[in-house]
Symmetry: C2
Subunit: 282 residues, 2 copies
């Protein structure tokens, strides 16, 4: 049982953590820290938070677990203030979609003072944002990747793992660099490609969107994602993302040449190979 | 009321037409023509078809409406035999995903003998195939594009429109060339891009697919589509498809350069523009 859970950023993810922790009785007290009094008041009123504050130091005081639930670049910017504010016994984790830079920053801070940080990435979310779409069941059966390194203390990893499992998630471990390649492949590259697909399809035939059916809606659903969130993710995971774009462009050239060349059997075989790969996705 | 409806090809689309026509009482008799006796027998047994045959001429005899529900290249290959077998009063339509080549073939045949053809493209379907996934409600609220030309008789267009509307669909009209550009933009390009995305993401990080979440599943759902069907569609709509790939590649280069260049505001604005475009999709 967590005595005091502090959540910095009470949007879709932070709000869902508050609701899930409340619904499952994981924490005695839940404190929310945010930038907008009116929005925080909603979460207090509906019982997800016991208390809300705009003051980071005030909100973190006495917390045994802190979850940083802001966009990745905000997490990196606030980490020094968080490390300065928390007590020695406080465990800090986050929900950032990229892990390399955040974990490096946390380790640099930990070299100067006691600071117990374990990176987390809950693979749950939505193209919609804000506390209004937060749900107590967001993490049920979701995958959460935690990213300890050789200097992370095993009990801290265990506590963070228990926390996510307590909300119904399945927890996997990856080192931060592998994590960033994995999410480039299954999330950041797909977002970038879908952004380009929506733009390119519209330029090619502006009248076409009126005829869009379920296939187009599903394929391009993530195209409605938040521009600030995704600019920051792309910025933060630029290296892995651009390397994955290179692999994508190679594949695009291959299938394009097969279409141009008119070798029907080779094109069928290429698509069949993709179909088999896609069928390995649970 | 159709006296005799003949459906050539009793898979997902042809089977769904049979079931919908049956459920809504649109046809007195429904005849299915296919290549596999066992599979056709299932549709007779469950009441979707009154009769099934492997013989095209036999199956088309006396039909007042014929629906060609095969892959596009099969439709083109069989059109001359269909035109030779049907009576003067028979109306023929199809479900092919590309319309330019099919409509051109039908018009060439109509120049030599009476042959009443109106191209149709029901924008409904699935990445799954076969009669086993056919549904009586597949066309409810779906969009069907019919593609008359200046030589198509208006009563024929009206009959085909009534037929699709009778199954609950919304019918739009486009000329065949515009239709082919529209479906390149919202269907064929997205399929090609998703095929390349699945291949490229897997090459970049083969371990990543084990962590795929809902976003990746939705984005790549069409990546599990039938290789033969899609090779044929790509072949048939090659010109529009390759032109749309050019527009896509331009957009890809733009966003890639913005990620490389690190101009956060410009990247945000580019993604925001895409988000607004995506939000115009119903």
């Amino acid at each position: 049982m967590i005595q005091r859970l502090a959540i910095v950023g009470v949007g879709l993810l932070g709000g869902s953590i508050a609701k899930a922790a409340r619904a499952r009785g994981l924490a005695r007290q839940i404190v929310g820290i945010g930038r907008d009094e009116t929005r925080l008041a909603v979460a207090v009123r509906d019982g997800a938070l016991d208390r809300a504050t705009l003051d980071l130091v005030d909100g973190l005081r006495g917390a045994d677990l802190v979850v940083l639930a802001m966009p990745v670049l905000v997490i990196e910017r606030l980490l020094p203030a968080v490390a300065a504010a928390v007590g020695e016994g406080t465990l800090v984790t986050d929900v950032g979609s990229t892990k390399g830079a955040i974990v490096r920053s946390a380790q640099a801070l930990a070299a100067a003072r006691p600071f117990h940080f374990v990176g987390s990435h809950p693979m749950a979310g939505s193209e919609r944002a804000g506390y209004g779409v937060a749900r107590a069941d967001l993490f049920e059966k979701a995958t959460v990747i935690v990213t300890p390194t050789e200097v992370t203390s095993p009990p801290a990893v265990k506590d963070v793992t228990n926390f996510w499992e307590g909300m119904g998630a399945r927890v996997s471990q990856l080192d931060p660099a592998t994590h960033d390649r994995v999410v480039a492949a299954i999330s950041h590259l797909p977002h970038l490609v879908v952004f380009a697909l929506v733009a390119g399809a519209h330029r090619f035939e502006p009248s076409a969107f009126a005829f869009a059916a379920q296939g187009f809606r599903d394929t391009t659903r993530v195209g409605a994602s938040d521009p600030v969130v995704w600019q920051e993710i792309f910025h933060d995971n630029r290296e892995a993302l651009l390397a994955s774009v290179d692999r994508f462009r190679e594949a695009l050239q291959e299938i394009e040449r097969l279409v141009q060349g008119g070798d029907d059997a080779a094109l069928q075989a290429w698509i069949a190979q993709v179909k088999r790969l896609r069928e390995t996705v649970a």
